[in-house]
């Protein structure tokens, strides 16, 4: 079957290799309240720089730890590759499951945002928005693979 916008199957493995270690590092950093700001300090180009008490600048070179940036990029690219690489036996029924999982996880993701918009304020709310960068991908991965797992386990040849 022809499928648009999906990566070939071999990229799925690359996705897992990028996604799982970065997720584990990210979780450890969050749970142990570690700061990654001391690692990989390099000069970077900032399109816009705005810190408290300083004048804002466009296109300035600043010193910054790129460890969190690398982690974010690795999580997003890895996640996207896991989500949108074809399965080995990708066909039209799998596409339907893919579509339904995407709708489901989008509802869940934005449902949670609405919930936290009503009930969380200040820094906690900003944290929710930060985690939200990854939750849509994460919900989709869990839902889609759970549905495929269910499909494989209860579709015995009769």
């Amino acid at each position: 079957m022809k499928t648009q916008f999906l990566f070939p199957n071999k990229y799925k493995k690359l996705g897992w290799i990028l996604f799982v270690p970065s997720l584990i590092i990210q979780l450890i950093a969050i749970l142990c309240e570690l700061s990654l700001d001391n690692y990989l300090n390099v000069k970077v180009l900032a399109l816009y720089q705005d810190t408290f008490g300083n004048k804002s600048h466009f296109f300035s070179i600043i010193q910054n730890s790129i460890s969190d940036e690398l982690l974010t990029i690795s999580l997003i690219i890895g996640g996207i590759l896991i989500c949108f690489s074809k399965l080995k036996n990708e066909d039209e029924y799998i596409s339907k499951i893919r579509y339904e999982s995407l709708v489901w996880s989008t509802y869940l993701n934005y449902g949670l945002i609405v919930f936290f918009t009503i009930f969380l304020y200040g820094i906690s709310y900003l944290n929710v928005l930060f985690y939200n960068m990854f939750t849509l991908i994460l919900f989709f991965i869990i839902r889609f693979h759970y549905m495929i797992y269910k499909l494989n386990s209860n579709s015995d040849d009769e």
Partner: protein, 66 residues
């Protein structure tokens, strides 16, 4: 929509796995169609019709709710 894939498959004495290979889909798709959980695309319906050498209407039937 209902179908008699299971019956046709039994007549031909072919497993879900073999049928899936013949028409290039996954075995789960055949299973889901037989259980009525999935309505195939026109392409897939025509492939099945070609394989069983029967018109599509003899494999798939509309229900009153369709």
């Amino acid at each position: 929509m209902t179908n008699n894939l299971k019956v046709l498959r039994a007549i031909k004495n072919i497993s879900q796995e073999e049928l899936a290979k013949k028409i290039a889909v996954s075995r789960q798709t055949i299973n889901a169609m037989e259980k009525g959980k999935y309505v195939p695309s026109t392409v897939l319906a025509l492939k099945l019709s070609r394989y069983f050498e029967k018109p599509v209407e003899e494999i798939f039937t509309l229900e009153s709710t369709d």
